[in-house]
């Protein structure tokens, strides 16, 4: 027998707490509302709490093993892999690095990165359902193949996508987004969550600026509005231009964490 569904949900009830990736709500003390025909069971759980809990567990492991984890995100074709190759060449062997690469198919990126000498673990999300992002359990599985004692910096090259990866905590310390100037200066405004969630932006392919009508000031001001104060590094992974600032920033983040442990 079906009765009319009761409407006991409080509209516009704002939890004043920030519902960021590190907040977990598990109040299972079932506060119930009984009305004729239906019972409303309070749940109050983040849908992604299973991911968040796993990410937090990994964050603890990474800290115990003194590993700094960088989550690198971007849209496809922004030059993430080339940027990473050039970055590894400049920070190794002083920093002992390893890379986890997410791709829906193929091992092209992993093959390119392996030439740096760093251990590279390839994740093909195909096996996990052709996902649009890397989730914590996938990264956990990949990490099992790495000797964390021999690593200072673990870089996770996420799936090329400016939407979904921003929503999934993978236990990282910092997040960077690579945006190439060929994508247009309107991208930050179109994908605000990504630029809010990241700690630095790499504006890549600046060697192509003479051939584009990319408005650098507009791009910078748009990023500045979404995430005031976030460092923006103008680089060219092809020519190596602008890498000094980015490398310095990255080295400082790693050192600061390892020193604090």
């Amino acid at each position: 027998m079906w009765f009319i569904v009761n409407r006991t949900t409080k509209r516009f009830h704002h939890d004043p707490k920030h519902h960021g990736p590190h907040d977990h709500h598990h109040h299972h003390d079932d506060v119930e509302t009984r009305k004729s025909g239906t019972r409303e069971i309070k749940v109050v759980r983040r849908v992604l709490d299973a991911n968040d809990i796993m990410a937090e567990r990994m964050r603890t492991v990474f800290s115990e093993k003194k590993v700094f984890v960088l989550n690198m995100m971007s849209s496809p074709g922004s030059g993430k892999t080339t940027t990473l190759q050039k970055t590894l060449a400049r920070i190794m062997p002083e920093l002992r690095c390893a890379v986890i690469v997410g791709d829906i198919c193929t091992t092209h990126d992993a093959d390119r990165l392996a030439r740096s000498g760093a251990p590279v673990i390839q994740i093909n999300t195909d096996a996990f359902g052709g996902d649009c992002h890397l989730a914590a359990h996938v990264v956990e599985k990949a990490v099992a193949d790495l000797d964390l004692d021999g690593i200072d910096l673990l870089i996770v090259e996420n799936i090329g996508n400016l939407v979904c990866p921003a929503e999934f905590d993978i236990g990282e310390d910092k997040r960077v987004v690579v945006l190439s100037v060929t994508e247009g200066e309107d991208k930050p405004a179109k994908y605000p969550l990504m630029f809010r969630e990241c700690d630095a932006t790499l504006l890549n392919k600046i060697d192509l600026l003479p051939y584009l009508d990319f408005d650098m000031d507009l791009a910078r001001s748009s990023i500045g509005k979404i995430h005031p104060g976030m460092p923006v590094f103008e680089i060219s992974a092809t020519t190596g231009a602008g890498f000094e600032g980015w490398i310095e920033w990255l080295q400082k983040q790693v050192k600061d964490k390892l020193k604090s442990l």
């Binding site: 983040r46 992604l48 929503e167 995430h227």
Partner: protein
């Protein structure tokens, strides 16, 4: 883009939240809060939800989505406002030091289950 995975998580959490004495009861409604800043498209989520509830206690249930506006508060001058465009600097004093009070939610608030009693 990952609405299918989200829909599956909602089914799992809902199934786990059905009290012992109501096992076997039909879930009529799931009340979900989705922040405007989250990367979830409500229509896509509803579509996926309707697919994944088949042969579960949620079959036929309504996914009620309450969209939560993005509300920010300035750490410097305490001004609070609703963010409607991708600008996260304080409206009053232009400070970039802000707290996001809401808009990132992806929470199941409650479930409603058919009760024969």
């Amino acid at each position: 883009m990952h609405e299918m995975g989200i829909a599956m998580q909602i089914v799992d959490i809902t199934k786990a939240s059905i009290p012992e004495d109501m096992k076997g009861g039909k879930v009529q409604r799931v009340n979900l809060q989705v922040g405007k800043l989250s990367a979830i498209v409500p229509d896509s989520l509803r579509f996926c939800f309707d697919l994944v509830v088949k042969d579960t206690p949620l079959e036929g249930a309504e996914l009620a989505i309450e969209e939560i506006p993005v509300v920010a508060r300035c750490k410097d001058c305490r001004t609070q406002w609703t963010v409607t465009e991708p600008v996260f600097t304080c409206k009053a004093c232009r400070s970039g030091a802000i707290d996001i009070l809401s808009g990132l939610e992806l929470d199941i608030k409650s479930i409603e289950i058919e009760d024969e009693d």
